[in-house]
């Protein structure tokens, strides 16, 4: 790779990217969809999903460990040949692209419904993606640095939000603890494990991180802390709004911020949280656009993937504008998650098999 040493990213910056990119899921449509099938046990699903994804991750890491310094695209091209490698890269790219398009549309919907009701959707979308493109065009190191700069403020804001709402929390609302039944919870957790699919995609970025150890610790810590965060916040939503009511609420995070106030003087504290949330969504999508360009660039075996950032941002907007309304976005998301689960879950095993096959062949010769 021709990325110079200066552009490499340290462990803590790398961790904070995931704390932001994955932790963001606590504020979007992911949570409401999980409550629908998880009922009062919905908060356990992120933990279970991550546990399933970690199995795939461990298998993939066993391959990556043997080829230190190489990212996922380099490895699949080595073990899968030109065709196999290209196919896997394109599959991952397609999954990531659709996911980014649907998620970003979900965010634009939230902005549209909760904050700017009279602004046209495309205008909001263009503004969000333009900002994300601008951050992404500064490179991976810039995204990482910005994440590291903001991470404490963001986590602080979440702690503040929960402590303001502490009075309204009634943990009794988490009962009955098993929700729809243990089996159902495990099944939903497995079905939605693609919500942590980034942990597989992230392995493409190994060459961008200073050491392999920093990558391993960064990704594991980032994902585990994020899933704990999502799970905790979901428990908070549940104990504030109660079970049958929570599924009526379209955006629990934004609803929660609407209920906050700092004392009797500042009664509308939501603008403070929404402001924070908008800044983080820009970083979140900047990371995604960068990842898309990086994956596609590698599928085409070019190093000039930076040039692909703008087309990627545009593509996301075009695909994202396809769903007609907010409920369609939800059903597309649900569909996509179940298909991506198959992809992210099976891919590490396929790569491991290919690698095993490659090693056997090369051991003979």
């Amino acid at each position: 790779m021709n990325t110079s040493m200066q552009e490499k990213v340290g462990g803590r910056e790398f961790t904070s990217i995931f704390l932001i990119a994955v932790g963001m899921k606590l504020s979007d449509i992911t949570t409401t969809i999980l409550f629908e099938s998880g009922q009062t046990a919905g908060w356990m699903i992120p933990l279970l999903s991550l546990a399933f994804m970690l199995v795939a991750y461990v298998v993939l890491m066993s391959v990556l460990k043997r080829r230190a310094g190489q990212g996922l695209p380099e490895i699949v091209f080595t073990v899968g040949g030109k065709f196999g490698g290209g196919l896997i890269c394109l599959l991952l790219f397609a999954a990531a692209l659709l996911m980014t398009a649907v998620t970003s549309r979900g965010y634009v919907d939230i902005i549209n419904v909760m904050v700017y009701q009279q602004s046209p959707l495309y205008a909001l979308y263009l503004m969000l993606m333009a900002a994300a493109f601008y951050v992404a065009s500064r490179g991976f190191a810039a995204i990482a640095r910005v994440s590291w700069m903001l991470i404490f403020l963001i986590e602080g804001a979440i702690v503040l939000l929960v402590s303001i709402m502490w009075e309204d929390i009634d943990w009794m609302r988490l009962y009955p603890w098993a929700g729809p039944g243990v089996l159902e919870i495990v099944r939903t957790g497995f079905m939605h494990s693609a919500m942590f699919g980034e942990i597989i995609l992230a392995t493409a970025l190994v060459p961008q991180v200073t050491t392999f150890k920093a990558f391993r610790i960064g990704s594991v810590v980032g994902f585990i802390v994020s899933s704990l965060k999502i799970s905790f916040l979901m428990a908070v939503y549940l104990s504030v709004f109660d079970y049958p009511e929570i599924i009526h609420i379209a955006y629990p995070f934004q609803q929660l911020t609407k209920n906050t106030s700092f004392g009797r003087v500042f009664t509308h504290a939501e603008s403070f949280f929404i402001g924070f949330w908008l800044i983080i969504s820009v970083i979140y999508f900047a990371f995604y656009i960068y990842l898309l360009a990086y994956l596609f660039g590698h599928a085409l075996r070019t190093d000039r993937y930076q040039k692909l950032l703008l087309p990627m941002a545009g593509l996301v907007v075009f695909i994202g504008l396809i769903p007609g309304n907010t409920e369609q976005v939800r059903s597309y998301w649900e569909l996509l998650i179940s298909y991506s689960t198959v992809l992210y879950g099976a891919l590490p095993f396929v790569i491991w098999l290919l690698d095993w096959n490659w090693r056997r062949r090369h051991a003979k010769t």
């Binding site: 009922q39 009062t40 419904v113 909760m114 904050v115 700017y116 009701q117 009279q118 602004s119 046209p120 205008a123 009634d170 009794m172 609302r173 009962y175 009955p176 603890w177 098993a178 929700g179 729809p180 039944g181 709004f241 109660d242 079970y243 049958p244 009511e245 009526h248 609803q255 609407k258 209920n259 009797r264 509308h268």
Partner: protein, 410 residues
Amino acid sequence: MRKLKLALILPLLFTAGCWDHLELEEQAFVVVVGLDKGPKNTVEVTFQIANPQKGSSDIGTAENEPPSDTVRFTSPDVLSAKDLANTVVTRTISFAHLKTMVVHEALARDEAFPHIAGAAIRDPELRREVALIVSREKAYDFIQKNRPRLETRPHKYFELMQQRWQETGYVPFSTLNQYLQQQVVDSMFLAIYATTDSKDYRVSRHEDNYLAGQVPKRSGDTVQMMGAAVFQNGCMIGTLTGQQMRWAQLLRHKSSISSFITSFTDPLDDRAMVTVRLFKNGRTKIQLNLAKEKPDIRVTMPLRAQILSFTSLQPYATDTEKQMLLERHLKEEIEKEVLGVIRMSQRKFQGDPFEWELIARKHFRTMPAFQAYGWSRHFKKANAEVNVDLRIENFGKQRTPYSEKVNGSD
């Protein structure tokens, strides 16, 4: 190139808020919304719009303007009334500072009310933290007659009243959030009951055994807020008096009130009353035994009491035996009253206004199993048992009453 970039980015600064721009000067802030039943499935929506110039330093230009204006419209729902209001009001109607919603009792009892409230909440401007008040007369009349003399600005009135509600416990602290929550579960929702119409007032020995409108009050503001409107599945089905409301608050496992003043009969003198300040001394414990068809409910209510006054002038403070008598008497009185509230909700309302549904949920592993059990169905038949854990803390700043002679052997 750099200049070109700058030229592209700079105009963005001026486009901010093109579509959703709001001019502070052009907004009319609604502080109270009133809902009445209209003809042909419509609602009569009343807006009380605050005049921000009143009570501010800008008063000079608006000397003759009233502190608020009230307008009423008949429309299919709350949100369409918002635009309709602009046929009269010069500024854009905004719910951003809406704190209170007043509903006429007749509408609250109507089957259409859950639909109206559920439809209104879709507007992101309407907060779930809006306080819900049920008025005995038409909401329009309530808002018209509510002209607090000591508070010029209408939003301040409800803001301060909310603080008092939490202290006295005469009314539940009810928000739209709780209404929507309890519409879909087995618990019943309690809303603030109020009226401006105090025609049938009566005098009770207990100063808190009133419903709004019955409080013996002769002058002052017309609005009375006392007692609760009981809702089941989103429709109002009955009322609780201020006294019953207080006990209901204490029976909930998480109540907002921590202390209140109330009175009981004197154990040694039938005509006299003992006034005490009761404190919650920890959380009320509720034990359920759901194994039987008729479930057992065991309530343990820890309370602390400060004796404020007793008209019998008995030497309770210094006489240990009489002290114990008083303590036992108060305990029994409270237990009787609390049990009365539970029995009443079992028979009259046939449902549970104490949020014990949450405690019952703990006994089940899965949600479908709990829903199949049907808590309100079993609550009706339950055997309730109340145990008050009362401790008298002090007797105020006078030790001996005046009737007692110094060194007397009374």
